[in-house]
């Protein structure tokens, strides 16, 4: 009983212990906040990565692809059985995309992915990240009249504004086509004027001059464009659709009012050129014109700045992947989605066993393996950060150790009194151990409450800090998240709190032992 009373009284009266409590509190709160934010970021990243990538991918090692993929698909269905949820074929190749901005072509190195609009939704959440609501419901490579989101819908707040997307689609395309036609006409007129100035100076000679045009060397480009225009009308027609990663086509910046805006260099309705290696040995160079029909925003910069999706059949045709004799089309990879709860690694191993790399030119990987370095880096970051932060609590532990030694010295006579009254050594030890436990419990408890409150109000706190400091704490132009993502894992919180209490207890063991071993006579005589 006396142990509890005395440790409680020491806790209340020894203000030096407050310093130890504060350091434990801060350490615990910081660890909870950092872990929650890291878990939030990590979860978002995993979700997006997994959303884009299917569970398992069988890739062809060469660019020519797999021609007998239908047999392969049948075998995969056999091997995976009920575990298989969906399966789709994909052509995935490196490519070069360019579009015209103010008369100049802007090139981008991209990953060109030919997807089957019908089956791709079965294996990934690809559609979820598109900007047109109809495309989110059902993927289509047809250009929509308009109706693209003019702000970041996913974040739920109108933070990143996209005013340019208001009329994007056919409305924009027609407007642009008319404008370009006018421009072209006036250019042609100017060109004609410069080539036959006399014709325009003396209208009477017009007919004659028209005869003389045959002598003028023909502009091959002009001729080509005229020929093309004869069978392709951009006012009414589109090329094969392409869905671009949003960062390929836009730049995020702040408006003069300080609002985050996305400025688009090309819009749905614009045409882009894509150059890619064709199938065959050695690979040749192929080019195709596509019309931007939507943007893809996964908020994973790596994907948003490199991925471009086109219809599978179109890409196969352009690359020469369709065998003219049999009509069979090759694919470069098969993406597989498994039912939830399936052991991915085991399923992957079964496929690898059936299609060993030494016999088949396939690479079979899980989505985690495909993003291995990135996920490993995030894991490593979390571990290192936790290690460093735990040092804070360890420092607090040393604070407790020093404080306790001081208190034991200060209380030497009291220890002697207790022993003279018959208190056993372990009883005296218990006083200081329970004191350490109390310090740890109070420090961790307050730290836990503070940490959880901080996590709950983290965005408001960030706004408050921005208001106070005048500087942006969490810049959406950098992170592509509108709010700081957080996830509180009860296990993590429990471990942090238990760890802090254990450190406080451990720190009190040595001083408590010293107190227990004090000789009562020496303690009574201590001054």
């Amino acid at each position: 009983m006396y142990k509890l009373i005395l440790s409680w009284r020491y806790l209340r009266t020894r203000y030096i212990a407050l310093a130890s409590i504060i350091s434990v509190t801060l350490g615990v709160a910081t660890m909870i906040v950092v872990n929650s934010v890291m878990a939030g970021f990590s979860h978002e990243m995993h979700q997006r990565l997994h959303g884009i990538l299917s569970d398992l991918v069988i890739e062809s090692m060469g660019l020519d692809g797999i021609y007998d993929h239908e047999i392969l698909q049948a075998e995969v269905r056999d091997i995976l059985g009920d575990e298989l949820k969906g399966l789709t074929t994909v052509v995935h190749i490196p490519a070069m995309l360019s579009y015209k901005v103010r008369g100049e072509y802007v090139p981008h190195q991209i990953n060109l992915i030919g997807v089957d609009a019908k089956t791709h939704a079965e294996v990934s959440d690809f559609s979820r990240f598109l900007l047109h609501p109809k495309n989110r419901q059902k993927l289509s490579f047809a250009l929509h009249e308009n109706g693209y989101d003019t702000h970041d819908v996913e974040s739920g707040r109108e933070v990143a504004r996209r005013p340019q997307l208001k009329d994007a689609g056919w409305v924009y395309r027609r407007h642009r086509a008319v404008h370009e036609r006018h421009q072209k006409q006036s250019q042609q007129t100017r060109q004609s004027e410069s080539q036959n100035p006399a014709l325009f100076e003396n209208p009477e000679r017009h007919e004659t001059s028209s005869d003389t045009t045959a002598d003028i060397p023909e502009n091959p480009y002009l001729a080509a464009s005229t020929t093309e225009e004869s069978f392709f009308d951009p006012l009414k027609e589109q090329h094969a659709g392409v869905i671009l990663g949003i960062s390929i086509a836009s730049v995020r910046h702040r408006s003069t009012q300080g609002q985050v805006e996305d400025y688009f260099l090309c819009l749905p309705g614009d045409d882009v050129n894509i150059s890619f290696p064709t199938a065959g040995t050695p690979p040749d160079f192929g080019t195709g014109q596509f019309t931007v029909v939507d943007f893809y925003e996964s908020k994973m910069n790596e994907y948003d700045s490199t991925f471009a999706f086109v219809p599978l059949h179109q890409l196969q045709k352009l690359r020469g992947m369709i065998d003219p004799a049999t009509g069979l089309a090759a694919v470069t990879s098969i993406q597989i989605k498994l039912h939830e709860g399936t052991n991915l690694q085991a399923a992957c191993e079964r496929l690898r066993k059936r299609f060993p790399a030494r016999e088949f030119p396939y690479r079979i990987r899980t989505w985690q393996e495909m993003q291995g370095p990135l996920l490993a880096a995030v894991r490593m970051e979390t571990v290192i950060l936790n290690l460093l932060l735990f040092m804070i609590i360890a420092v607090a532990g040393f604070g407790i150790l020093a404080t306790f030694f001081m208190i034991v010295v200060e209380k030497t006579r009291d220890i002697g009194i207790l022993k003279s009254l018959g208190a056993p050594g372990r009883g005296v030890m218990s006083i200081f151990l329970s004191y350490g436990l109390s310090l740890g419990a109070v420090g961790s408890g307050v730290g836990m409450v503070l940490g959880l409150l901080f996590v709950h109000f983290i965005n408001q706190i960030a706004t408050g800090l921005e208001w106070v400091s005048g500087r942006e704490v969490f810049d959406p132009t950098v992170y592509y998240f509108q709010e700081i993502p957080t996830i509180i894992n009860p296990w993590t919180v429990s471990w942090i709190v238990a760890g802090a209490v254990a450190i406080a207890m451990t720190a009190s063991v040595m001083p408590a032992l010293r107190a227990a071993k004090l000789h009562p006579v020496e303690a009574l005589r201590y001054e």
């Binding site: 003279s420 018959g422 009562p520």
Partner: protein
């Protein structure tokens, strides 16, 4: 000492030997002494006045020749301390005994080994040589746990510097030995009885109005009275007092001595008191004088209250 104690004609100690754990008075005490306990039939009056409320009833004279039994004895006690490479002998062959129901004063100059001897008697320290017996049983070689229990249950201690725990109130300080001796469950089970007993003891030493005060809010005399109450809470068979008046002025010191004398006379409490003040020592029943770690003289104090008790010289 006698004169000052005849002032109040009514007050008696209450059931000091009747603790919840010791419902019957110590048989040894009862049988070994022809002392009448005037406890149960006396009116109990809670005086509003501060200070001790004892009435010293004259101790019945002991029959000639019936020496009180020995409660504690030492034989060949030696103790020395080492400072650097030098061994300093403190006690050299100390032989003496404590008779039940008597006040034994251990007197001597500073450095004569009085306090060391008291610490050995209290089992706070172990002798280098020699033996200490309590009720005929050797106690100096007991294991640590048994010694802790002995100090808690059988021996009471008061110190020159009171040694109250500063974090606790007067009441809590008095209850500390009970808290040490009982488990949390048992303590709470007997909480009301323990509390009543502590309050009664504090009332007897005149501190009923200081229950919730911390030691720093008490005077020296009050602190020593609280320490006496604390030493009595477990109904000890032997009270060891280390210079109980050494830090007090003469008048307050006398009040403390009155309390001890009353406890001795009315409750037959055996007291061993260490003092450097010969005047105080001479008021005891027996005087053991230490000179340079040796018992120079031990015997009945001439003119003491028990002149007919023959002291056996060690």
């Amino acid at each position: 000492m006698k004169e000052c104690c005849e002032a109040e004609p009514y007050k008696l100690l209450l059931h000091l030997q009747l603790s919840p754990e010791n419902p019957q008075p110590s048989t040894e005490m009862q049988t070994s002494n022809a002392v009448t306990h005037h406890t149960t039939n006396q009116p109990h009056h809670h005086s509003k006045q501060n200070g001790p409320h004892f009435r010293i009833a004259p101790k019945p004279a002991q029959a000639v020749g019936s020496a009180p039994p020995i409660i504690m004895s030492t034989s060949g006690l030696k103790k020395s301390y080492r400072k650097a490479q030098v061994t300093i002998p403190v006690l050299r062959d100390v032989d003496f005994s404590v008779s039940a129901g008597q006040i034994t004063a251990i007197a001597g100059q500073s450095g004569s080994g009085k306090t060391t001897l008291l610490h050995l008697l209290a089992t706070l320290d172990s002798p280098d040589q020699g033996e200490i017996h309590l009720h005929g049983k050797r106690i100096d070689n007991l294991p640590t746990q048994a010694r802790d229990r002995l100090r808690n249950e059988t021996l009471g201690m008061i110190f020159q510097f009171y040694h109250l725990l500063p974090e606790l109130t007067t009441l809590e300080n008095v209850l500390t030995p009970v808290m040490i001796g009982q488990s949390v469950m048992k303590y709470w089970k007997n909480w009301r009885v323990n509390l009543e007993r502590a309050k009664t003891l504090l009332d007897l030493v005149g501190l009923s109005h200081r229950l919730e005060h911390k030691p720093r809010e008490l005077s020296g005399g009050e602190m020593q009275r609280a320490a006496i109450a604390r030493s009595l809470i477990r109904s000890p068979q032997l009270l060891l007092a280390d210079e109980p008046t050494g830090n007090l002025d003469r008048q307050t010191g006398n009040e403390i001595l009155d309390i001890l004398r009353t406890l001795n006379e009315q409750e037959n409490l055996t007291i061993v008191m260490v003092t450097h003040d010969l005047e105080i020592a001479r008021q005891a029943d027996r005087l053991v004088q230490l000179v340079e770690g040796r018992v120079e003289e031990a015997g009945t104090v001439a003119g003491s209250r028990q002149p007919d008790v023959v002291a056996k010289s060690e």
